[in-house]
């Protein structure tokens, strides 16, 4: 009897530890999912009525808002932008990340290697707001980059206002922020390669480049593949904060992605403008983001399952 009681008491203590976290997750992650209902109904926020009351008393319209979204003239372009931007980022990040980690690994001077690592890692810790502000100053029509172009006899380019240049700005700024992280990640994998393999390769007469290609690369191949797989799961996320802080209405054509589109439908161009884009804007926006998160969830789940099954990656 005594033992049973102490056992329940123990369980209560354990659950009391889980409680704060579980409550937070339920309040801020699980309950909002109910709000997805607004993608299927004509929801409008109403004064004097509770949120759920207004939500579940709204008229059911089935997939009406989805077909409305799919038939939007800009939808295809936004979908294309999202995939294009995230695929190019993935290829650049992993390709250049592996390359720079291989180069870093070749440096025999420990001090220098550390210094380079520390410097290139800095932008990763700054927010997109700061990085975007800096990019804007550098790239503005009277900024240093354009002064340099003009000094070389060229013509000033409006990098953030032109559809040809805007994706390039996105790629470059992403490299600026994340390449150091990526390189250090792969570098850590390289340092785990058994030194005996290099010795064996040296005895066989392999030079540094050959050692790189035939020892290092095959050894870190599993990690590269793992990174690619996990990033493919993330392919619908083309970088919301980055695009939101860098773009403007002149480059919607080339820079607008699904997340920013959903955000603009609901909340308009920013705090200065008058709220969202009119009637049922919440429903339309939710339809857009729901479409995205379903695809996201499938891709994410599939890539994680693949990683767990084939690559021995374990989450929890």
């Amino acid at each position: 009897m005594m033992q049973i009681r102490s056992k329940t008491k123990k369980q209560i203590v354990l659950h009391s530890m889980m409680l704060p976290g579980a409550v937070l997750l339920i309040l801020f992650n699980v309950l909002p999912i109910l709000g997805l209902w607004m993608a299927f109904s004509r929801y409008q926020p109403q004064y004097g009525m509770g949120y759920f009351e207004a939500l579940f008393s709204a008229d059911f319209v089935g997939l009406g808002f989805f077909s409305m979204v799919f038939s939007r003239p800009d939808f295809q372009r936004v979908l294309f932008n999202t995939l294009y931007i995230s695929i190019v980022k993935l290829v650049l990040l992993i390709g250049l990340g592996v390359l720079t980690s291989l180069l870093l690994n070749e440096i025999p001077y420990l001090r220098l290697k550390k210094t380079i690592q520390v410097i290139v890692f800095i932008p990763y810790f700054l927010s997109w707001v700061i990085l975007a502000s800096v990019m804007m100053d550098l790239l503005s029509l009277s900024g240093p980059i354009n002064r340099l172009i003009e000094a070389c006899g060229g013509e000033a380019v409006s990098f953030l206002g032109s559809n040809t240049w805007f994706p390039v700005v996105l790629f470059v700024s992403e490299m600026w922020k994340s390449l150091g992280y990526e390189a250090i990640y792969f570098l850590a994998a390289i340092t785990a390669v058994a030194p005996g393999l290099y010795e064996a390769a040296q005895i066989d007469g392999a030079n540094r480049v050959q050692q790189c290609l035939h020892v290092t690369l095959p050894c870190i191949r599993p990690i590269i593949i793992l990174m690619v797989v996990l990033n493919i799961g993330n392919i619908m996320n083309a970088g919301f904060e980055q695009v939101l802080s860098l773009y403007n209405s002149a480059v919607y054509q080339s820079g607008d992605i699904i997340d920013t589109m959903a955000y603009r439908i609901a909340f308009g161009d920013g705090k200065g403008s008058s709220g969202g884009g009119g009637i049922y804007s919440y429903s339309i926006s939710t339809a857009v983001s729901f479409f995205k998160s379903v695809i996201c969830c499938i891709m994410f789940g599939a890539s994680y399952l693949f990683a767990a099954k084939k690559l021995d990656y374990e989450v929890l």
Partner: protein, 309 residues
Amino acid sequence: MQAAALKKKPNKIGVSLSRKIFLAVIIAVLGLWSILCILPFIYILAVSLSSRSAVSAGIVTFWPVDLTFNSYAYLLEQSAFFVAFGISVARVLVGTAVCLAVTALAAYPLAFARKKLKGRRFYVCLILMCMFFNGGTVPTYCMIAAYGLVDSFWVLILPGALSPWNLILLVNFFRNVPNEMLESAEIEGAGDYRILLQIVLPVSLPIIATITLLSVVGHWNNWFDAYLYMNDSSKWPLQTYIYNIMESFQKLEYNMQQYPPEQIEEMLKSNDLTLRSAQIFISMIPILCVYPFMQRYFVQGILLGSVKE
């Protein structure tokens, strides 16, 4: 013997020369890359320390022209900037404390199989679900509005307090705590809270440091939650404050025609480049200050989080 050595010599020099060139090229490439990484910040610093006329004349590059601290002095007088700075500091302190408390408490029952937590599957499913799926911006916004948290300080703290990724990091680390330590503590009659505080946490300091730093940087850098959930701009943290200024500047540059002239004038005034650069630089300082200490822990954190041996 001698002849053989002589014969070998040129060959050896050749190898080491090509190796030297190889190294020089690599160091040049990587050095250029690291210089490119920090040059923009040096430019910002130079602009913030230059006189306004020098900046508008476009002669500032990487060294201040007409060195002056005017923009910093002006910022010191602006209360809005420092209120925003203070809110950022407050959210970092409170947010990190809450994040650590909630994460450590939740990780303890999940980590130790010997505790035989009933309903463990339920909690694991809950956490996994939150990792893979969420309601999206608008439903989350509506829910938070329904809780009455709009414009409240807690909206910056609570929604992201328990990050599943941090939790996984911590659970995996706790698992390596030797079972004997827990056992002996139990025999001595220590309760679970006490074991967590006095035994598990002290031996997990590296991972606690990693999570603390992740949380500090995350809170300092987060601007979107305040922008979305707060209408009252006097309650915004620093990053949101800077985003707002930047956004109006952007509108000015690319969609000028939308605004009446008076408003453009006002925007131009608040968008003085030297002043903006000073603000950007000040907002970077806290990160740059803790950065040297935390870099090591971050590397550790990434490795623990993504590649499990």
